[in-house]
């Protein structure tokens, strides 16, 4: 069972290969560079390094967002096209879930976070126990302060992971006080091994795999707003 894992939902490029039980290779680059030119060459190089051919693959697992729209699309497009054309199953998992799963040996609530700009974040709440990750609050695009107030009401400590949570460390601490702990530096991004460990999730038809942007396109949001107003004034 040879599995390829791809996560390009932030500027971090994470690729992993396993034979089902053992992680054979991981590649992470954490620099702001163009995914479009780098993902396929990175996959090709990593596979050749471990002596794997495309047709050896049995499964693909991909992070389908939320995150950078373009980044998510590049990863999803490559993953679904590969899975479809190689006729192998694909599992799409949340990039936030795989970031949460990258926190080692934690028991309890973990909050992965990507910056979404304008004091907003892409985030969700997960519970890690016995090395398994379970969704507690679904992935969303939310203002940081609102989100922290919601987390505070859980009445449990929360571990924040992901390097982009560092941007909001002060804001989070102000709302949550001692209920917040920070591991943005030691768990900065998704480990490919964590994404590979989620490969046993639900298999999907490659043609049906789509990004989860957790946010409407701006034009669509504006259009909906304008039409709501129109409906109200028509009443």
């Amino acid at each position: 069972m040879k599995i390829l894992a791809i996560d390009t939902s932030t500027y971090t490029l994470s690729i992993g290969l396993s034979d089902g039980d053992v992680v054979l290779a991981e590649q992470v680059t954490n620099v702001k560079k163009n995914h479009s030119t780098r993902v396929m060459p990175a996959i090709e190089a990593l596979m050749s390094e471990v002596g794997m051919k495309p047709r050896d693959l049995n499964k693909i697992v991909v992070a389908n967002g939320p995150g950078s729209y373009t980044g998510v699309r590049i990863g999803v497009t490559i993953a679904k096209t590969l899975a479809w054309t190689l006729n192998i199953p694909i599992t799409a998992v949340s990039g936030l879930a795989s970031l949460a799963a990258s926190a080692p040996l934690i028991e309890g609530l973990v909050c992965p976070m990507f910056d979404a700009r304008r004091e907003q974040v892409f985030t969700g709440l997960y519970r890690l126990s016995n090395g398994l990750v379970e969704s507690v609050k679904e992935d969303q695009n939310v203002p940081v302060v609102d989100w922290c107030q919601e987390l505070l009401r859980m009445g449990e400590p929360v571990l924040f992971v992901g390097q982009e949570s560092i941007i909001y460390e002060q804001v989070i601490a102000e709302v949550m006080g001692n209920a917040a702990a920070f591991a943005g530096k030691s768990v900065p991004y998704t480990r490919p091994a964590a994404l590979l460990s989620l490969a046993s999730g639900m298999e999907q038809d490659p043609s049906q795999v789509v990004p989860n942007y957790a946010r409407l396109a701006e034009a669509e949001a504006n259009w909906l707003k304008a039409n709501e107003k129109k409906e109200k004034s028509d009443e």
Binding site: S36, Y69, T70, R73, T77, P211, Y213, W223
Partner: protein
């Protein structure tokens, strides 16, 4: 016996998700286009982010239907050709990365194609090209005269200095409160009207093959505005006919002059605006009188964006040994003379 060449083409540069299979650069084996136009209508134009989202949702279904139509698999293909520019960058990246994944999975050569080269090569799906030739490329984003002395060689001898012809059509359509996309509506109205508004023909300086449509667009807006102020009613059919006559006159005149000066054997019409009936009729009429020059106008389905044209152009590049690597990028402003 020479082996047949099968090229799988992919096009996602704007708002059509398309794939096709072409044999020997000339025969359409499969041609699938999934249009997003309904989705963009409510915004009055193509929204790049929405276009990218649709591409990633539709692309596998389009690929599947293409292989099904052809009854072929990627094992039968010689290469994957994909539009690498120009176009909307987010939209291009979906096609480019899908193409790379297929090329990698099946160890096939990867060929990046210039979108406008594709439009020109749509003609080869109808009739063999003979060189030298002149191509008039008119679309929402382009108005160019491209001289080709041989396959794969493109020299832009004239281009628009402001709006593309298609852009002017959309803007004039908006002035006349016609729905998006405006081109076909103007064309339809024009057929029912007369050239009565005596709009300017903008020819630029003597001898230039460049175009300019923004002055004409302003003249239309002023005409509407002045009529409103005088309390007169505009006759939309006549205004559409006058606008179209001005565009078509200039396009035809410069194309004829360029074709003669460069001594070409063929003139090709290419791009989405090539679907315009007024332009087709005018060019057919003008070149019908010049025996030494053939005019070629592809059927409307091949004028608008499709992947058959990308595979057709890709075939020539394949034969010329041009290849792209897995690090190929999308190039929103790709230059046809350098690609």
């Amino acid at each position: 016996m020479k082996k047949d060449i099968f090229i799988f083409g992919i096009e996602t540069s704007c708002d059509e998700t398309a794939a096709a299979i072409i044999k020997n650069g000339t025969d359409i084996i499969a041609n699938v286009v999934s249009s997003q136009i309904e989705s963009h209508k409510r915004f009055g134009g193509v929204v790049p982010e929405i276009a990218s989202r649709h591409h990633v949702e539709q692309i596998i279904a389009v690929f599947e239907e293409t292989l099904e139509q052809a009854g072929l698999t990627f094992q039968d293909m010689d290469a994957i050709a994909v539009t690498k520019g120009p176009g909307l960058v987010g939209a291009l990246l979906v096609g480019v990365n899908a193409a790379k994944a297929i090329a990698f999975a099946h160890d096939l050569p990867l060929i990046g194609v210039h979108h406008i080269a594709g439009h020109i090569y749509a003609n080869r799906l109808v009739q063999e090209m003979s060189f030298p030739l002149m191509s008039l490329v008119v679309s929402g984003g382009h108005t160019e005269l491209v001289y080709m002395k041989e396959h794969g060689s493109f020299e832009v001898i004239g281009e628009t200095r402001d709006d593309a012809a298609g852009e002017a059509y959309d803007k004039v359509a908006r002035t006349l409160s016609l729905p998006y996309p405006g081109g076909p509506h103007i064309d339809r109205l024009a057929a029912a009207g007369q050239d009565t508004y005596s709009l300017p023909r903008i020819r630029l300086e003597e001898g230039s093959y460049d175009f300019s449509f923004s002055g004409l667009k302003s003249a239309v807006i002023n005409t509407v505005h002045n009529a409103e102020q005088r309390g007169e009613k505009i006759i939309p059919e006549n205004l559409a006919a006058s606008f179209q006559a001005s565009v078509v006159d200039v396009l035809t005149e410069k194309t004829v002059r360029a074709a003669k000066e460069y001594g070409v054997k063929q003139v090709l019409l290419a791009g989405g605006v090539a679907a315009n009936k007024g332009l087709r009729a005018s060019l057919e009429n003008a070149f019908g009188k010049i025996e030494s020059i053939d005019i070629m106008i592809p059927p409307i389905s091949l004028c608008t964006d499709n992947a058959a044209m990308i595979a057709a152009a890709g075939t020539i590049l394949y034969e010329q040994g041009k290849r792209d690597g897995l690090d190929m990028n999308g190039h929103p402003g790709l230059d046809i003379e350098e690609f």
